[in-house]
Symmetry: C2
Subunit: 172 residues, 2 copies
C-alpha cells in the first residue's frame, strides 16, 4: 500500500465497535475489498496471505502467530513459523492487519485502505479487540515529543479493560 491511499468513507468507519453485525457478509466484503486494493496497488494476495487474512477476519479477536500456524497446517499450507510470519508481515505492512503489541498477536484491520493510526480497545477477559482512531496521541504526546526533539514515526495506542459483554457478565 505504498500508493493509492485514500480516506475511507464514513459509513465504512462505523462498525468498528463491539456491537453485533452480519459477520459472514462482513468477512466477504473485507476479503473482496482487500483483493481489489491489492489489484489496484500491484500487490499479490497469494493463497497463504488470503487465508491468514480470512482467519483473522473470522475472529474479531487477536490471534497469536502459532494459532494461525496451526490452522494453516490444517488447511494444508506450510506449517513452519516463517510461513505465518511472512504472511502476517505482508498483511501488516500493507495495512490489512494490525499487530497488538500488548498481546503479541494480530487482528484484521477494520477499515483497510485508509491511512490511519489505529487505537485499540482490548478486553482482558475475552480478548475481543475493537479498533478506533487515535488522532489523540498527536495532542499532548506530540507536544512532548516536539519539546524533546523526538521525531514520532508511529504510535501504538492500546487500551486494556472490559468490553460491554464482559462488563455485563461481571455485574451479575
Amino acid at each position: 500500500m505504498t500508493s493509492g491511499m485514500r480516506p475511507v468513507p464514513e459509513d465504512h468507519m462505523a462498525p468498528i465497535g463491539f456491537g453485533d453485525h452480519d459477520h459472514d457478509t462482513c468477512v466477504e466484503n473485507a476479503l473482496t475489498s482487500a483483493e481489489q486494493l491489492c489489484r489496484e496497488n500491484g500487490l499479490r494476495l497469494t493463497p497463504v496471505r488470503r487465508k491468514v487474512l480470512e482467519m483473522l477476519l473470522q475472529e474479531h479477536r487477536a490471534l497469536g502467530a502459532y494459532a494461525i500456524l496451526d490452522r494453516l497446517r490444517e488447511e494444508g499450507f506450510g506449517s513452519q513459523p516463517p510461513v505465518a510470519y511472512r504472511a502476517l508481515d505482508f498483511l501488516v505492512r500493507n495495512g490489512f492487519v494490525h499487530k497488538i503489541e500488548r498481546l503479541n498477536a494480530f487482528v484484521a484491520c477494520s477499515h483497510p485502505g485508509a491511512t490511519h493510526s489505529p487505537a485499540f480497545m482490548i478486553c482482558r477477559k475475552c480478548d475481543a479487540v475493537a479498533e478506533a482512531q487515535a488522532s489523540t496521541a498527536k495532542g499532548s504526546l506530540g507536544a512532548a515529543a516536539r519539546a524533546a526533539g523526538f521525531e514520532i514515526e508511529r504510535t501504538v495506542v492500546e487500551a486494556e479493560g472490559l468490553c460491554p459483554d464482559c462488563t455485563k457478565k461481571a455485574r451479575k
Copy 2:
C-alpha cells in the same frame, strides 16, 4: 504502592527527556527514593529486586528480561527466567519500572511514587526510551470507549521514532 500515592513535584517531572544529566546522582537518588517508598509502604526491596532496578536505572534504555538475567548471573544471583520475571513483576506492580510492550522489554520509571499513566518515546535506532505523561489518551480514545461501552483500565501509549541524537546523526 497500594497507598501513599501522591502527585510528584514538578521539579522531579522535568528530567524525563533525552537530555544529558548527572547519571550517577540520578541513579543514586532514584534508588534511595525507591527504598524510602518501599519502607513507607511496607514493600520489600530485596537484593534481587534492588539489583534489577539499579540495572534499569543505569541504562536509560529498555532491557530485555534475558539481558537482565545475564547480568544477574554475573552478580551471583539465580539465573533462571523466573528470577528475573518475579523481580520485574514486583517492580512493575509497584510502579518502579514500566514494560515497553513494543520491545518486550523494561525501563526504570522516571518518576516513581506518582500516580501516572505513562507514554513512551522509543528510539528505533538506539533504543533510548523517554517517558512522558499520557493524559492524552483519555481524550478521544476515552470518548470512543464510552460510546462503545468499553471500560478502560489501563492504556499503553508508545511512540516509535528517532531521538534527537539519532536524528542529528541521520542528517550528516
